[in-house]
């Protein structure tokens, strides 16, 4: 052979050195040169995977929310503490009994096709969301009617209080649709679902499937002077290496949901051209959990679940699996809900000896190195669940539980867990959303054990006391009392372990230093991006 393997390796090892020493060549600065040539302010936002549609009234698909919220607005926006901010509504007021909300709507707002926006659109949209949004049936379960005394007032009347409702009016969660385009025909097959017409800062221009979605600045936006961007591209880049390259050569300006390998964050942000933040995810925090199938006779035993809890070191998951971008959490309600979060001690801290002792006592002795074998299904979404599962396999091997991992694609997993219930335990992550009644209750409430329906009570947990606490919290308008109900619920599930909450994930947004103005939004990149601006000259980027 003309070259030796060692020489080859030596040759390869020169690559990263080159990366450090050779400055970026100007030809690579796609985005910056674009601007220099055309004079347009272009913002390239990542969407991955490609959204199934561009209107989020009937879906909670993450990238549909990202795409929809730029065109279709909500009544309210939210800051980082989930305090409501004006959007299509300029003022709002809850009745003392919690049974009605009065929204004053913004004057002079026009749909992108020129029609005026009125309270009729609000009434129509809330009804549509209640019927078609995956969470709408729950969030708006108590919605009795929407009254429209005039074109700029909407009064939402409820049959029972819904204390979480005021946080549900974000653009991505409860978009306001144009009644005049949706009133006739089947809303699910309305062509505007893929070519939305809204009131937002950006207008739909085109969707090249598999490649990009193009939005253009809405010159008639009600917030004059905004947005500070002429063209917004939502780019579909499925491969992480290509995403990384796109950030580094300037052809991507921002991407959320940890768009690049977290191990590379420090390196790519070292020279200051790229930055990252974990802000902008207040509206939904995702925990990583271990869900047991309680129909499995072995896992139905409390002491087995206790032993598994003792065998897992959450700190390793935080540090190694999530590269530090996670918070250890014992409780299923994240700390960000300060008034609801239960901060009690972990009843089953990391203790291998204790785990082994529990399993011995349970009559499950080691035969050779193994006591018994279980199959673990990580949710096939991104790689963090599979990585967590690899750690759990490693951790449980130390207490004599032989864990087999199962790889499968998304639909197979969904069918296995929620329809066939052919699983032992699973590593999952389901957003806690804007309120525990909407995001957390669904995983523990016995009435939400619904075969065939994804992201429901997958453990088949059934505790009447937990049901009572959750149902009371759902209608309790007194915040303190509501907090006590949630804390009592958490204390029980932490002790009984239908599932083990491991960490709360921190999502990372990577962005080019030339863009700013989205971090203070509680919805981050899933907000309207009206306030985004692009600073700096094209050359400054080089």
């Amino acid at each position: 052979m003309p070259f030796s393997r060692r020489q080859f390796i030596k040759g390869l090892s020169a690559l990263p050195l080159l990366g450090a020493s050779v400055p970026f060549l100007p030809t690579a600065l796609a985005a910056a040169t674009e601007q220099a040539i055309t004079g347009r302010r272009i913002f390239n936002l990542l969407v991955n995977p490609e959204p199934p549609s561009l209107s989020s009234f009937n879906t909670t698909a993450g990238t549909t929310i990202t795409a929809s919220s730029k065109v279709l607005e909500g009544l309210l926006g939210y800051d980082e503490n989930l305090a409501p901010q004006p959007a299509l509504a300029t003022a709002w007021e809850a009745a003392a009994d919690g049974l009605s909300y009065r929204f004053t709507l913004r004057q002079g707002v026009k749909w992108h096709d020129g029609q005026p926006f009125t309270s009729e659109d609000v009434a129509f949209s809330l009804d549509l969301i209640k019927r078609f949004h995956p969470r709408g049936g729950g969030t708006f379960a108590n919605l009795a009617s929407v009254e429209t005394p005039d074109a700029h007032t909407a009064i939402v009347r409820l049959s029972k209080p819904a204390p979480y409702l005021i946080r549900a009016f974000a653009a991505g969660e409860t978009p306001i649709l144009p009644k005049h385009l949706y009133a006739s025909g089947d809303p699910l097959s309305n062509p505007h679902n893929n070519a939305p017409v809204g009131t937002g800062p950006y207008r739909f221009k085109q969707w090249q499937r598999g490649s990009f979605i193009e939005y253009e600045r809405n010159p008639d936006y009600w917030n004059a002077g905004y947005p500070g961007v002429d063209t917004l591209f939502l780019k579909v880049i499925p491969d992480s290496a290509a995403r990384l390259a796109a950030f580094e050569n300037g052809s991507l300006d921002a991407g959320g949901q940890s768009p690049v390998p977290l191990s590379d964050l420090a390196r790519i942000t070292a020279n200051g051209k790229l930055k990252f933040t974990t802000r902008g995810y207040a509206y939904s925090i995702t925990p990583t959990m271990l869900e047991f199938n309680l129909d499995n006779p072995l896992l139905a035993r409390h002491e087995v679940r206790q032993a598994i809890a003792h065998a897992i070191d959450r700190e390793v998951i935080r540090k190694v699996v999530y590269y530090g971008y996670a918070d250890v959490s014992v409780s299923p309600i994240p700390k960000s809900f300060a008034q609801y979060h239960y901060d009690g001690p972990d009843p089953y801290p990391f203790d291998i000896a204790k785990a082994n002792a529990l399993l011995d006592q349970a009559g499950l002795p080691k035969k050779g190195t193994s006591r018994f074998s279980l199959t673990l299904d990580p949710l096939p979404y991104g790689d963090s669940y599979a990585r967590t599962a690899t750690y759990i396999r490693s951790a449980l091997a130390r207490v004599g539980i032989d864990v087999q991992l199962r790889a499968q694609d998304f639909p197979t997993y969904i069918k296995r867990v929620y329809t066939d219930r052919d699983f032992d335990f699973a590593v999952v992550g389901m957003g806690t959303t804007f309120d525990p009644t909407v995001g957390v209750q669904r995983l523990f409430w016995s009435k939400n054990f619904r075969k065939g329906v994804p992201f429901t009570n997958g453990t088949h947990y059934n505790n009447p006391e937990v049901d009572r606490l959750l149902e009371s919290a759902a209608v309790e308008t007194d915040e303190t009392r509501r907090g006590e109900l949630f804390k009592a619920f958490q204390k029980i599930v932490i002790e009984e372990l239908p599932s083990i909450t491991l960490v709360m994930q921190q999502q990372v947004t990577v962005f080019n230093a030339r863009v700013s103005g989205f971090e203070a939004d509680g919805n981050g990149l899933d907000g309207s991006l009206a306030a985004v601006s692009i600073t700096g000259e094209a050359v400054a980027h080089g």
Binding site: M1, A241, S263, V316, D383, R387, Y391, A397, L405, R406
Partner: protein, 292 residues
């Protein structure tokens, strides 16, 4: 497909296979690499006891930075050297097993079609055309999606999608050989078709079969790697493809996670190809036949 009227000549095997191979340095290199890989696969459990997928050290240690983990660790702190050694087992197993399946199906179909001809030949040829027209890699993906990506399913998928190559080859051989004198003689003695196929014709078609099979093994390793790249690898078994699949996230910072198993794959695939070429030269010195 039309028939190309090439003059077909069969080489007389005047010297032993070993003798021919011995004078071919390329084939010897290939054989040496393969023996080394085989040794690595067999002794993996001795040099790297324990589960190669276990998280044993700090994550992302560079090769050479810790003498206990010579080739470094991956993003979960798994030993890369242990993965490469144990991965040799899975990669070889999947490739050999997949090739065996495709040889079994291909020989059966090809022999029946080539020997009997007529209607059966038409049907079987059509069948193998169906499999050849469907992009085989997509077929592999579909089959793996039906099952789950375990070593067995991946091997089966590779076998099911790659048999037409063998079938075409065997059919052509049988069509030529069925008119040969020794076959006519055997038939006239009243031997059953089965006996004639298995004992008379097949041994004579063995040479090109071995050559093609060795190339198929090489391509099976490549298919396994491609699947793993798309995230379809067995998570309970260390395999080179799987290591590339899990390491490619870190491609820009810890490229050794992709490069090292990649080099292992190239080395073994190269070895099979070298050996295949060597066998081809040795067995068919006149007729250099390539059916990749």
């Amino acid at each position: 497909m039309s028939t190309i009227a090439f003059p077909v000549q069969r080489a007389g095997r005047s010297e032993s296979l070993w003798g021919a191979l011995r004078r071919n340095p390329a084939a010897l290199t290939g054989a040496a690499i393969l023996l080394l890989t085989l040794f690595m696969a067999l002794t993996a459990g001795y040099f790297f006891p324990g589960d190669p997928l276990d998280m044993v050290a700090a994550p992302l240690l560079w090769p050479g930075s810790d003498p206990a983990y010579l080739l470094g660790t991956d993003s979960l702190g798994r030993d890369v050297a242990a993965g490469i050694a144990h991965g040799a087992r899975a990669s070889l197993l999947i490739a050999l097993y997949g090739t065996l399946i495709s040889v079994l199906i291909g020989v059966t179909v090809g022999a029946l079609a080539g020997y009997h001809g007529g209607r059966l030949d038409d049907i079987l040829t059509r069948l193998s055309e169906v499999f050849q027209t469907v992009p085989s890699f997509l077929l592999v993906i579909v089959i793996v999606a039906i099952g789950t990506p375990t070593v067995n399913i991946i091997a089966l998928a590779i076998g099911v999608s790659s048999w037409p190559t063998i079938a075409r080859l065997i059919r052509a051989e049988f069509r030529t050989l069925r008119e040969a004198d020794f076959v006519t003689a055997a038939r006239s003695q009243g031997f059953s078709s089965r006996t004639v196929i298995l004992e008379e014709i097949l041994p004579n078609a063995l040479a090109p079969l071995v050559v093609t099979a060795s190339i198929l093994v090489a391509s099976a390793i490549l298919i396994e790697a491609g699947l793993a790249f798309l995230g379809m690898s067995d998570p309970n078994t260390a395999s080179w493809g799987g290591m590339i699949g899990s390491g490619r996230e870190q491609i820009a910072s810890a490229w050794y996670l992709t490069a090292l198993p990649g080099i292992a794959i190239i080395a073994v695939v190269l070895a099979f190809n070298l050996l295949g070429d060597g066998l081809n030269d040795a067995l068919n010195p006149r007729l250099r036949r390539y059916l990749p």
